[in-house]
């Protein structure tokens, strides 16, 4: 869909104002340009190509429904945006149009301590929510490393992954039901069956899952009913070091299969990550040369459960070759994991070792335990290639994090952290980056994995592989998209879903408009 750009004096803006009131519509340049990118890799030299035409700040589902119906009448794209922390370009308006920023919908609507739910607007952040819930001895345990700044709407839009999902589950397990404005403006509620607070039902299709993780291509969530769990009495975090990656890898296998119910997550850091920590300053931790890989573990629960389980866990780690890194490192580093915005803002040039400003990017995948060593080698080789060829990238190492809900074994969230000197991006090295991303995603598929465990796969470079990963399911996705969004107004250009309407639809990544204001 390529509607012409909206002029700032357009009567369309007056129509929007009649729905949202004057303070709910922002067409000024700062409002639009600040809502163009997210922290995912972005061609900063082409900022204007992706700036939205207008930003709306709704307060109710009815206002959003009104905006969506208006957009259908005019054929203008609509892109929901929550905390804008996505590491995929889900909230980037690839075909411009209207950004629906849900931050003003941040109310807690109900806390139900009897049936153990909390009902909120999509603009609330988990940290703020938990500050309130704490007064009642309960918690909403969705814990991404963007915990202080991502919002419930974005968690549902991405079907996010939680640091403590091995114990409590991930976003899809923790969202019981939600209200959503469909691409044609109807407002419905989806959950397991029809009940607002029912966790398991066998009535009908499992629509909750369909409307999660679609990156805003199937509607806009306006309210969500979430799980409450008892606030943990005790947190236990223990980090172990190993003389080789292989030893740490085997120990990770033993720890994850220990069957300890309070175990919330196990993370394996590779030798590149350790070299990076030794080399750098902001996260510099002095370690002996024999520290080649690290495994981090965390447990939550009652003191009666966690204490004996922690003993068992420490014994398992030691019996499989681990050496405890000490309380200070373990507890300090674990507490910092809930907020990875505190990541370095610089990297090094390979040629001279000089410091240059770099932003942090991470590529993710879901990979089975058996394939982790091969994927690690191949991903680092790809990173090596672009570091040597373009001189604006840096390899900050990899980690492997337990990925399954409630049972921390089997498959892993795999991430490689790459530094990019964004100010140096131009068409040539951006193309090199996109090719590397494509190759990284292709390796994940080659080893029977998924190209993303949590961020989504709408990015230039891996969006082209989503159809391959989905197989026959991709045709079903396209059919669903066509039926629910007949005018292709919801976040067009994502997941190559434009081909649901026109097999020859141009890629949103080519043929950009120029000279946006």
């Amino acid at each position: 869909m390529t509607a012409p750009p909206i002029a700032q004096s357009d009567p369309f803006l007056d129509e929007l104002r009649s729905i949202l009131g004057p303070d709910g519509v922002r067409a000024d340049k700062p409002a639009r340009w600040n809502r163009t990118r997210v922290p995912a890799p972005f061609p900063v030299h082409r900022w204007a190509d992706y700036a939205p035409d207008v930003v709306v700040l709704p307060r109710t589902a009815q206002e959003i429904a009104g905006v969506v119906r208006l957009a259908n009448r005019h054929g203008i794209p609509v892109v929901p945006r929550a905390g804008a922390t996505g590491l995929n370009d889900g909230a980037v308006p690839l075909r411009r149009g209207i950004i629906v920023d849900v931050k003003r919908m941040n109310q807690i609507r109900e806390i139900d301590l009897v049936d153990r739910t909390v009902t909120v607007g999509p603009g609330i952040n988990m940290l703020k929510l938990n500050e309130e819930l704490r007064k009642h001895g309960v918690m909403f345990p969705d814990d991404p490393a963007s915990y202080p700044c991502s919002l419930v709407g974005g968690r549902i839009g991405t079907s996010g992954w939680s640091l403590i999902g091995g114990r409590y589950g991930h976003t899809r397990d923790l969202v019981i039901s939600f209200e959503i404005v469909l691409p044609t403006g109807e407002i419905i509620r989806v959950g397991d069956g029809g009940g607002r607070k029912i966790r398991k039902s066998s009535t009908g299709y499992q629509l909750k899952h369909l409307f999660m993780g679609h990156q805003g291509t199937l509607g806009i969530v306006t309210e969500a009913t979430l799980e409450l769990v008892p606030r943990p009495e005790v947190e236990f975090a223990a980090f172990f070091h190993y003389p080789s990656f292989q030893a740490a890898y085997e120990s990770t296998g033993a720890l994850t299969k220990s069957g300890l119910a309070t175990l919330a997550g196990v993370v394996l850091f590779d030798e590149w990550k350790l070299r990076y920590l030794r080399r750098d300053d902001e996260a510099y931790i002095p370690q002996a040369e024999n520290v080649r890989a690290v495994v981090a573990t965390a447990m939550y629960g009652t003191r009666d459960e966690v204490k004996p389980a922690a003993r068992r866990l420490v014994r398992t780690a030691r019996e499989s070759g681990g050496t405890y890194l000490g309380d200070e490192v373990s507890q300090g580093d674990w507490a910092a994991r809930h907020d990875r915005y505190a990541t370095p803002l610089h990297g090094r040039l390979r040629t001279t070792g000089q410091v240059v400003p770099m932003s942090w990017h991470c590529e993710d995948a879901a990979i089975n335990y058996s394939a982790l060593p091969q994927v690690m080698e191949e991903w680092h080789a790809i990173a090596d290639r672009i570091i040597d060829r373009y001189g604006i990238f840096d390899d900050w190492g990899m980690f492997f994090y337990t990925n399954a809900a409630h049972k921390p074994w089997g498959d892993y969230l795999v991430e490689i952290d790459i530094g990019i000197w964004e100010q140096k991006l131009d068409d040539v090295n951006w193309a090199g980056w996109v090719e590397a991303k494509h190759d990284i995603a292709a390796v994940a598929l080659k080893y029977g994995g998924s190209i993303t465990a949590c961020h989504g796969a709408t990015r230039e470079g891996d969006a082209e592989l989503a159809a391959e990963e989905m197989g026959g399911g991709f045709e079903v996705m396209k059919a669903i998209k066509r039926v629910l969004d007949p005018n292709n107004i919801m976040n067009p250009g994502k997941y190559e879903l434009d081909t649901a309407y026109d097999p020859n639809a141009p890629s949103p990544f080519s043929g950009r408009r120029t000279g946006g204001n």
Partner: protein, 97 residues
């Protein structure tokens, strides 16, 4: 109470930790200045460095408290040596640099 003394705001002399890293305050690591020719390091007064370090500790303590009523450490587990649950845990200590 003493007022602001410029001389007290000068960070101590740097100690070299390795080729890439120096240290002026205990446990506060900085990139070696020789690696910062393209983008020179800012001058940061001592009070500001100490404030940043202290606020990091505050932040970490706040995070622990946010997630659970208390934090259990291996050192606490191991100090209870006569506990029948201990099951043969042995202390290993933190490796030194």
């Amino acid at each position: 109470m003493l007022g602001f003394l410029l001389s007290r705001q000068r960070p101590p002399e740097a100690r070299r930790i390795n080729d890439d890293v120096i240290m002026r305050f205990d446990h506060v690591y900085e990139v070696a200045p020789g690696k910062m020719d393209l983008f020179p390091q800012q001058d940061i007064p001592a009070w500001d460095t100490l404030r940043i370090v202290a606020s990091r500790w505050d932040h970490l303590a706040w995070m622990h408290d946010h997630w659970a009523d208390s934090v259990l450490g291996v050192e606490e587990l191991e100090s209870e040596a006569d506990d029948p649950d201990l099951d043969g845990i042995q202390a290993s200590g933190v490796p030194s640099g």
